[in-house]
């Protein structure tokens, strides 16, 4: 059976959920071989094996952290040459897409980004994408070389399928040009304790209607009652009420949760582009004409300052 390379996204060996989704999708095409760069490969291999990785190619070097992107491309290329896979799957993070892009150039292969589904096809893997602010769904294939495909979070439900997950060391030689961009310093983000925006099953977002940074705790409380991530519209972010890392929309994150709650968001195309593929959409807005109501499964026309706290309280009491 053909092997499929899966690039592992992890934090010090703790494998992130999108990678498990990738392993699940990879099994539709072939046998997943994971590529783990950085520390704690043995620890990661247990989880990777549980979700179907037959092998884990591991490499650890200071270069991965000290220089931007390119050393990881060297490693993924080394894995590609060692395995000759049927496809290479990479999580659709900002960095993941850059790694995939450079690999595609190097190995002379086509690339598809931001796939939301993946199936085996007669002429290679078929990737579904959601385009033009999610108004179209396309199905595409790579027609030259080995398909390099980046996959968005929440594209599949991770399914366990125990495999060996044998760790093998991957020899990587770094190119002279791969150490051109130095990471001089790195300031980790403070954890909010909430799920990561793109990976969350439920997202609660606030927009212009929230009226100020001082009112965002209202949105956060609702999110916490549901175990959700917090998002914000561009208007709220541009006004400085919430960090850009939480922005949902064309120039921010694109999310596809089971449930999306928009509070005080009108639903401009900019925002819809980032949330339109959510399974269930709920909105609270005082303007009955707001375009967001065209998308909703359930909408409440009303003042978010009374509706949101009532909703939060009701959820808490129902959850007991």
């Amino acid at each position: 059976m053909a092997e499929v390379l899966v690039y592992v996204d992890h934090v010090d060996g703790a494998v992130r959920k999108p990678t498990l989704e990738l392993l699940t999708l990879a099994r539709r095409i072939g046998e997943p071989v994971a590529v783990h760069l950085g520390a704690n490969a043995e620890e990661a291999a247990k989880v990777l094996g549980e979700y179907g990785a037959v092998k884990v190619l591991a490499a650890d070097a200071a270069e991965f952290a000290d220089y931007l992107v390119a050393p990881k491309v060297d490693a993924l290329q080394a894995a590609f040459e060692a395995v000759s896979p049927a496809a290479v799957l990479v999580p659709s993070s900002a960095e993941g897409k850059e790694i995939a892009a450079r690999l595609a150039v190097r190995i002379g292969s086509g690339i598809i980004t931001d796939a939301v589904d993946l199936e085996a096809g007669d002429e290679g893997p078929v990737a579904s994408q959601s385009v033009f602010a999610a108004s179209y769904t396309t199905k595409s294939r790579v027609t030259k070389g080995t398909p390099v495909i980046t996959v968005k979070p929440n594209s599949a439900a991770p399914e366990a399928a125990p495999a060996a997950g044998t760790v093998e060391q991957l020899a990587v030689t770094f190119g002279e040009k791969s150490t051109g961009t130095k990471v001089v310093s790195r300031t980790p983000r403070e954890s909010t304790g909430r799920p990561e925006l793109t990976e969350a099953a439920i997202v609660v977002s606030g927009g212009r209607g929230v009226g100020g940074a001082e009112n965002f705790p209202l949105i956060e409380s609702l999110a916490d009652s549901l175990g959700a991530a917090v998002g914000a519209s561009r208007a709220a972010v541009d006004a400085g009420w919430y960090p850009h890392t939480n922005q949902v929309g064309q120039t921010g994150k694109s999310v596809s949760p089971q449930l999306y709650i928009a509070a005080g968001i009108s639903g401009a195309i900019q925002h819809r582009a980032g949330m339109q593929t959510s399974k269930t959409i709920v909105a609270i807005n005082k303007d009955a004409e707001a375009p967001i109501f065209e998308l909703v499964d359930y909408g409440v026309v009303g003042d978010l300052f009374t509706v949101v706290p009532q909703l939060t309280e009701e959820i808490k009491s129902r959850k007991g």
């Binding site: 033009f132 027609t143 001089v184 120039t251 269930t280 909408g299 939060t312």
Partner: protein
Amino acid sequence: MSLRIVVCVKYVPDATGDRHFAEDLTVDRDDVDGLLSELDEYAVEQALQIAEEADDAEITVLTVGPEDAKDALRKALSMGADKAVHVEDDDLHGTDALGTSLVLAKAVEHIGYDLVISGMASTDGGMGVVPAMLAERLGVPQVTLLSEVAVADGKVTGRRDGDAASEQLEASLPAVVSVTDQSGEARYPSFKGIMAAKKKPVQTLDLSDLGIEAEEVGLEGSWTKVDEAAERPARTAGTVVKDEGEGGKQLAAFLAERKFV
């Protein structure tokens, strides 16, 4: 010596318009108004600011696209770029990201550069991969997704805000930079700028000028193929209620019914 900055920009269908696919499943660029991609305005802005800081700099704005793409170049020139290069060739129709990065790389080398700046992604295809591809093809450092950027003493420095961390980056020129929409509001062209842009040189190049074969680009030369493009069915209209004092509770009941609570 003059700092040579090349800004790569894209002419895209207006995202607020009704965007469609043409019969060959390429982006329909005829039936919808086009404009300079909003995300590329940030690149033009940062190029202008870097040029203002430098003793001597020249900004060339570069695009690959059909005849109308000149509008995007004019906009960048009216913002303050010095000259423009338009790569236009019938054989380019349907070119994918790999092909586009090839054309841009050849054009950038043809123009001569110390610094290439682009936006973080286009607002139509939106892959966000061209800057990384360009760095790979040119064999120069990739300093991308910056929300702050500066050039001094032959080095480019900047801040890259990722999900897990914020990183301070540094690379020697020549380099490829991309900037995000957090890098700073783009200026509006002044009346004077708009008038001056009309006199600024726009050079047109075709594939043969860049030594690229027609087979390497276009729909036929593409490394990927779109087999299907289906309009997403409109979401079925849901229930919208007016809050009469119980709106929050009604919403909670809906969420409970859908098993979210």
